[in-house]
Amino acid sequence: MTTDNDIFDLEIRSLVENAEAEVPEGAWTAVSAALGKTAKPFPLWRYVAVAAAAAAVVAGVFFGLRAPSVPVDSVAPTLVAASVPETVETVAEEPVVALVEPEGEAPVLAMMTEPAKRPGRPAPRKSVPTQEISAETASDTAFEPMPESPQTPAETFPSETSEVSPVSGETPHFEIVDPFKGLVVTESTPWRHSLLSVDFSSNSSYGGKPGPFIPPMRAPGRPTSTMVREAPGDSEYALPVTAGIGIRFSFGPSKRFGIGTGIEYTRLSRKFEGQYLEFTDGVQTRELDGEITNTQQYIGVPLNFYVDVLRGERFGTYVFAGATAEKCVDNRFRIPDGNDYAYWHPKADGLQLSAGAGLGVQYRLSPSQSKPQWMLFAQPDVRYFFDCDQPKSIRTQQPLQVSLTLGIRLGF
């Protein structure tokens, strides 16, 4: 039975059920601000796809660029064998031996003493005419020290055209003058031994007079393993490109500071005129000449400290400093072989360590206050690459570099 109360309720409901009232001023502003602080997760895959596409485009543009040639003077032909050489430790002055071929005379050993430009690095060599070293002329003959009297003429001097054969039994004699006093040579590196053996392979005198003392050869000078020999002249270096993906943990007031790490990929490339010698079981089976391309690919793990400088709605800038350890995962030589190419992949041991600092620009892909934050970043920086016996590249020639890293970063 419908009571008065029921009728009253129905009347009230009919009036107010769908009633509308004036919306208070500023209500949406407050709601919008609150929503911004509690943003919902966004579809990650969309932003990752956009970021990956953008990174691929940028990387493609940079890979297509070529840096101007960086001339690198080399006196002696550079040999690259299968193992990476250790640095020859030097004192303030490092005597450098090069092969000099005066016109019409027998090849002689010229002693040049130059101060090393930086500790631990080989002293730069000046351009002088060099004698091309071939496997045939490399000698593994041990040189005996001269008798004490400096006036004693050498009994035997190899002629200009004669070959020094390991089986000839001839042992040239020289004055006992140790030009390498103070030179510390590490014995365990076959490459360096072969380089020394090449440097010292010619044991001619100075125009008939006793020449400088040649220390005993520690390793055979004749190459027996596959190698690439670089001709003297310029190398053409490509612009190094680094791409990475990182993660950053923010802390401190307003989360302005951060520590980050990640994974970086770097590609180094250079071209040079050279010779490729392939050996099988100690026997040379192949020899190719031409413009050789050496490409090195590094995977690195950086560790950086960040400080945000400017923060906008989407864009932000920051400064950072840190270090990176990189491993050469591929060291490839491409040698022209007729209409095709031959490839050689010597192993690169050790890690490339570097330290750097710079500033960066980042673009936040995700809504503000969402967790985590996806960001695109580009950071030019100055980096110093420590001498870590890595394959020759623009880094070994110019250890202090300005580089550009592009990538995606996940922020927490």
């Binding site: 309720d9 009232a21 208070p24 609150a34 509690t38």
Partner: protein, 179 residues
Amino acid sequence: MQHSDENLHLLIRKCKRGDRKAEKALFDALAPMMSAVCLRYGGDRETAKDLLQEGFITLFSKLDTFSGEGSFEGWARKIFVNTALMYLRKTDALKLSDDLEEARSLSSPDESPVQKMGKDDILRLISGLPPGFRTVFNMYVVEGYSHKEIAESLGISEATSRSQLLRARSMLKDKLSEL
């Protein structure tokens, strides 16, 4: 709300993706009606504004739970009613008693003056009720909750719910008769 069902669902999908423009559009569509709901439960404009903001924040955060079946408006209204109830519980505004004697003492006019009033007047009168009366009255009369549901929601007995309703209804009638 003026939006068609299809447009409404598109709007809701955009809101779920965090589209701020879509959220603003949905706010504009719902806000007038929900303002009335908040005014009925809040009692004053300041409280109604707080309830409105809280209600929308809750609505947008729980948007993923809307299955798409049934009235979105009804779903949204429930969120605002629950927001209002939580607020009233938190502020201890609900002073409910099951004193039926006091309820019975209130007069009941012979004819209904409701028909002479506009909805704004009714809203104002309802807002002027004490919190306990107001809450139970809104839930029972306007939202259509049963006494059992009201009792469970407010943590009171069904008898208390009934007495609160009686008192609210009587007070409203008295105020209407005074106008």
